[in-house]
């Protein structure tokens, strides 16, 4: 008898998992109790950024009586937690989002909200940001923050070696030359740090800058793109710097990272988004930023990492969720979020962010970020990327880039049929 009821339970779970949510009982605890509506807001942020978000939530509660914003901080368990939430049709109402190809089927399209609601003042946003939240022609996320990638450099090491600070318009030849001069194996000091496990997403700026790409613009072909001469050259360059000793191999997420070594003053240059800037300053490093170098004779291209806010399809409080998103990207809230780069031109102008030499390169790179990243072009990109990542990693460990990429293309073909 018990077994039968267990089977029944299993069956009802199965019915509920389709994402429709009709088969699963929703408990009242995220509904309204005694006139108070709870809005669940999931974030991946931690530390100071999280504190600021909690403050924004409080501000929102003040202006919306009868509302409680429950800030759910999933930190680096974000994907796992969302998987459980969506899988059981019990997701948060509003959530941070960047991986739209994976999640968009469970997200609410926001085009109607965005076009009808004049308060949003959509024209004030940097327009390029919206492309990253679109699947097909539907908009699933409102940009809340972004970063482009720049080169950080340690001014003290440059001064000691008597090398002038790099300027916008520099080339990879300059870069490699500087890296060589700032390398001193006896002090365990290197010109540059290269990640052992690169996120191929981040490498796209480098590849585009050399005129290469991972996939054709229509998203159907990788042969001749992922393994083109230009793509291979760009990736080979990183491998070569490791081989000739002017760069050190930096470990993955859990290991002593390139950021840690940069903070120790043992690498002179490091490439990343805005994330580590604050911690570099805290560690007492006199840090400068400069836009990415160019390949001689070719325009520099950048890649954008965007964080957006989305609403779950299963949410019971979509209108309230929209109000919250709108508040979150309002001038007032953007000014509170000092760790993020502002997404509104008006705020940037007011705070003169693009005049600050430390912040200017992020905005110059933003102008150079008009290519579409591969993961938005092909729904099977995840599978292809698995092969590509393995190939790129093997180049960091000494393989030949052209051969490795040819192999990756061969191994990926079956996913694109």
């Amino acid at each position: 008898m018990v077994i039968v009821s267990v089977m029944a339970l299993t069956a009802s779970m199965l019915a509920g998992c389709g994402g429709g949510g009709t088969g699963t009982a929703q408990e009242p605890d995220n509904g309204s109790q005694a006139g108070v509506t709870t809005l669940r807001f999931a974030t991946w942020d931690t530390g100071d950024a999280l504190k600021i978000e909690q403050d924004i939530a409080k501000k929102f509660e003040e202006s919306h009586p009868g509302t409680k914003v429950q800030v759910e901080a999933y930190a680096d368990g974000f994907d796992q937690k969302l998987a459980a939430g969506f899988g059981a049709a019990n997701p948060p109402d509003v959530m941070y989002m960047w991986d739209f190809p994976t999640y968009h089927q469970s997200l609410e399209p926001l085009d109607d909200y965005a076009s009808k609601d004049k308060d949003l003042n959509i024209d004030d946003f940097y327009q390029g940001l919206f492309n990253y939240g679109k699947i097909g022609d539907k908009l699933y996320g409102i940009p809340a923050g972004f970063t482009t990638r720049v080169v950080y450099y340690n001014k003290k090491l440059f001064d000691e070696a008597g090398i002038a600070y790099p300027n916008d318009g520099w080339t990879w030849t300059d870069f490699q030359d500087i890296a060589k001069r700032l390398t001193d194996p006896s002090k365990k000091q290197y010109g540059f740090g290269v990640r052992a496990e690169n996120d191929t997403y981040d490498l796209q700026g480098l590849v585009w800058s050399n005129g290469g790409s991972f996939i054709s613009e229509d998203g159907t072909t990788i042969e001749g793109y992922m393994n083109s001469k230009e793509t291979a050259e760009a990736i080979q360059m990183l491998g070569d710097m490791l081989k000739n000793g002017t760069a050190v191999l930096a470990g993955g997420k859990g290991q002593q990272s390139g950021e840690d070594i940069f903070k120790a003053g043992k690498i002179a240059m490091w490439e990343s988004g805005i994330w580590p800037l604050e911690s570099f300053r805290e560690a007492g490093i006199d840090v400068g930023t400069v836009e990415m170098p160019a390949f001689p004779g070719k325009p520099v291209k950048g890649v954008l990492a965007e964080s957006a806010l989305s609403i779950a399809k299963d949410s019971k409080h979509k209108d309230l969720a929209w109000e919250f998103i709108k508040f979150y990207v309002s001038d007032e809230a953007i000014k509170m979020r000092v760790a993020d780069l502002p997404v509104r031109a008006s705020v940037v102008n007011e705070l003169k962010k693009d005049q600050d030499p430390l912040y200017k390169p992020y905005y110059t790179m933003l102008e150079r970020s008009d290519n579409t990243p591969a993961f938005l072009l092909n729904p099977k990109w995840n599978e292809v990327n698995r092969q590509l990542s393995a190939a790129v990693e093997s180049v960091m460990f000494g393989s030949d880039a052209q051969e490795a990429l040819n192999q990756a293309v061969k191994d990926s073909e079956r996913y694109l049929k």
């Binding site: 840690d260 003053g265 911690s279 560690a283």
Partner: protein, 270 residues
């Protein structure tokens, strides 16, 4: 001579186990500028004990501590009672399907949580237990395979004649368990209590999946708030780790003498 070798080995091994923790403590005490120096600085130039208080106050850790204590105490109590009963059942009786059932007990240890996590979440969601401490407590009251197995092994080393003597005197099975077996099991029960407390105290996945609201969070979830998608606040992690390791360490220090001291002096003596 023998003594010298023994002590040398003991001290050497202790160093191996303690040295990395020494680093955790000093990391927590350093100033941000000293954290990443190479060659490493063994001792901070200024001992910043305020780092502990600062890290503790970034998030409501007092609240997290309270939640963790509730979960740990209640689930440990449940674990002790249920596992004793079940282990006794498996160790002392011959019954139909015993070996098969016991193999199922063992098998439940091998289920990878990656795939049962979502259905479990659905079930608790169905019961209305998501975002409460119940999923972290209630299942403990129905025994966990690891401890059932451990206690069974201990009970099976106890001579059967002890039960029999009592049974001949007219004691029922429950009385035998309560009067004869449990007193002899003291050390192994403390062992189970200590082990379960440790795993409960440090559990990350359960709380991550089943809790949403920060007011329900446990210490490890609080700790994970220092580890973001981009970048890790190493100093705060070390500071909090040091602080939250103190209670389990203290429990262990006081419990260990009973765990290892007890068994030799009970029961087995003629």
């Amino acid at each position: 001579m023998r003594k010298v070798i023994t002590y040398t080995l003991l001290v050497f091994c202790s160093l191996l186990f303690i040295a990395p923790l020494f680093w955790a403590v000093t990391t927590a005490l350093k100033s941000p500028q000293e954290l990443y120096l190479f060659p490493p600085k063994w001792l901070p130039s200024v001992w910043r004990f305020s780092n502990f208080a600062e890290a503790w106050s970034i998030q409501p850790f007092n609240l997290f501590l309270k939640n963790t204590v509730i979960v740990t105490l209640l689930s440990t109590l449940g674990q002790l009672i249920s596992c004793t009963l079940v282990a006794y059942g498996f160790a002392r009786f011959q019954f139909k399907g015993r070996d098969a059932l016991f193999l199922i007990v063992l098998a439940t240890m091998m289920i990878p949580w990656e795939v049962t996590m979502i259905p479990q979440y659905m079930e608790f969601n169905y019961l209305g237990w998501i975002n409460t401490l119940k999923p972290l407590i209630v299942p403990s009251w129905f025994g966990s395979a690891y401890f059932i197995f451990l206690l069974r092994q201990f009970i099976m080393t106890l001579p059967r004649e002890l039960d029999e003597a009592a049974t001949i005197d007219g004691a029922g099975k429950m009385t035998v368990l309560a009067r004869i077996i449990v007193p002899l099991m003291g050390p192994s029960l403390i062992l189970v209590a200590v082990f379960h407390m440790m795993s409960c105290w440090n559990d990350y996945l359960g709380p991550l999946i089943f809790l949403n609201d920060q007011t329900k969070y446990t210490l490890t979830l609080g700790l994970s708030q220092f580890r973001g998608m981009h970048g890790v606040d190493m100093q705060s992690i070390m500071a909090i780790t040091c602080l939250i390791s103190i209670p389990p360490l203290a429990v262990f220090f006081f419990a260990q003498r009973y765990i290892v001291g007890g068994i030799a002096t009970t029961g087995i003596k003629g």
